[in-house]
Amino acid sequence: MIINGTEIEETFAEAFGMSATRIIITAIDAKWARIAGETMTGFATSVIGCGVEAGIETELSPEQTPDGRHGVSVLLFAMSGKALAKQLETRVGQCVLTCPTTAVFSGMQGEKQMPLGKNLRFFGDGYQISKQIGANRYWRVPVMDGEFLCEERVARTGAVGGGNFLVLANHQQQALTACEKAIVEMRKLPNVIMPFPGGIVRSGSKVGSKYKGLMASTNDAYCPTLRGLVNSNLDNDIGAVMEIVINGLTDEDVRLATRTGISAVCELGAAGGIKRISAGNYGGKLGQFHFHLREVMA
């Protein structure tokens, strides 16, 4: 399959089942809502080292938030509900509770619930106030700029993490430009995040390492500077490879994001230096979800 001169490789992305949740952070203005969202989703690129993968899903207008203020919705993904709950509580406690003017609410409904403000309330040292409004319980925690309002519980759901595609280009700048273009389009979609810096990964990894205890190491088959040393997957004209990793609430969300991203990249096509689109997998034995690139783009 070739789109606009760019080859779509006959391969697939391998993704995993994860637990995910969505929270809504609001603040006095869009700037402070984004600051809170960016802070709590910092150091959340990969569960391997960060415990959680998280990102800002979208910015919300006052009409879209529970308390009528500017906000952001944040998606968090972890390998288990327990790990997700721990990371959520830590990050909201350290990054949202501390951020001026913020409030935090559940962003999804569901039967599986976990604490949001249930334990954070104890920061109020006995002066916290519970408010049952409709079917939901909220906590008003006194803080130095007024009150931190947070919903007691948030739902979690099964999700898909680790969808991906690789952009193989002649030069580094061409790969980066193409990935940036893809990210702009993909961020318009609901229910997905691209958790790496700016949505783009330059250090794709393979499982294992020559060093004991290291779970992952550089994806040598896609490193241009290792061509000729290892069993490389790169032709001589490939100067740089960048990867976009996609986490979504459903496999359909990941599929749509993959298609949207690759389509955006292929608009630049061979003329833009984009030679090939590939994907990362582990032979199909580890992840439950397989996204075959040619099927996705058909």
């Binding site: 529970p66 409030a103 106030i129 519970s130 049952q132 409004i133 008003r140 309002l149």
Partner: protein, 271 residues
């Protein structure tokens, strides 16, 4: 198909205990079966059919038509279904109610919604004393659910209230939120004297400063509280309370009662 309807035949000179007529107990009963249910009239029992004209078919919705204020315990301990009272209700309306919905187009007597646990109780007229209060001898009043009164309420609304929401569209009597343990009361009109006496926790929100507050309440200043937005969105959809959409989030806050824990709050909307 029409809902089961109990229409009072004649004015009463004694009070009636209406607690047998809740949806879960009569939902599968025909009009004849309902007519044979014994009810206490003063110190003697009579068949329901002697006091009420009964019509309609089995349903989880019950209609009571009465201008009497002597029909006590309507909807007491009900868990599901609906009761519509066209006219007035007596004392203990929705007492210990644990679910379902009651709507009264007229007034209700004392202790409406007392010991209520869940459900929705709406009164289009006025309510008596001890709205959402406690049963005599009990230490907790209303423990959940929502009461809305479009008119005025009597004294001690929310006395010993533990959880839930009470909305009062008109004025409240004296000792509103007295001995309140938790929960939320919104009183749009004027609150009477001694509001918040012995209030331990909980929130009373009102449009005007009460006629008097205990000396054991302290001023806490003017604050913008964002939970009011959520509360306003929730209750402004109720009949008679659409005016709440105009209310902002800025309030004058009083905290107390410092004679007993002192973690209650009285919020006065700043218009």
């Amino acid at each position: 198909m029409s809902m089961p309807t109990l229409k009072l035949r004649a004015p009463l000179n004694r009070r009636i205990d209406m607690s047998p007529f809740i949806p879960e107990l009569i939902a599968d009963k025909s009009a004849d079966e309902i007519a044979r249910i014994p009810v206490w009239l003063g110190n003697r029992q009579v068949d329901t059919g002697e006091l009420f004209e009964i019509s309609g078919n089995p349903s989880e919705v019950l209609l009571i038509q009465s201008e009497s204020d002597k029909l006590d315990m309507i909807g007491a301990a009900m868990k599901q279904g609906s009761i519509l009272v066209e006219g007035n209700a007596g004392a203990y309306l929705g007492c210990a109610m644990a679910g379902g919905e009651i709507r009264v187009t007229g007034d209700t007597g004392t202790a409406a919604g007392c010991a209520m646990r869940a459900g929705d109780l709406a009164v289009e007229g006025n309510a008596g004393d001890f709205l959402g209060g406690a049963l005599t001898g009990e230490r907790q009043g209303m423990r959940g659910g929502r009461i809305s009164v479009q008119g005025d309420s009597g004294d001690r609304a929310g006395d010993l209230m533990r959880r839930g929401t009470i909305l009062i569209g008109g004025n409240t009597g004296d000792y509103c939120a007295s001995r309140m343990v938790a929960g939320t009361i919104i009183a749009i009109g004027q609150c009477g004297r001694h509001t918040g006496t012995a209030m331990r926790r909980g929130t009373l929100i009102t449009s005007n400063k009460p006629a008097s507050l205990p000396a054991t309440f302290n001023s806490n200043g003017i604050h913008s509280l964002s939970f009011l937005t959520l509360l306003r969105q929730q209750v402004a959809t109720l009949a008679g309370f659409s005016g709440l959409t105009e209310m902002g989030v800025e309030v004058e806050r009083w905290v107390g009662d410092l004679s007993c824990d002192g973690k209650g709050e009285i919020l006065i909307w700043q218009s």
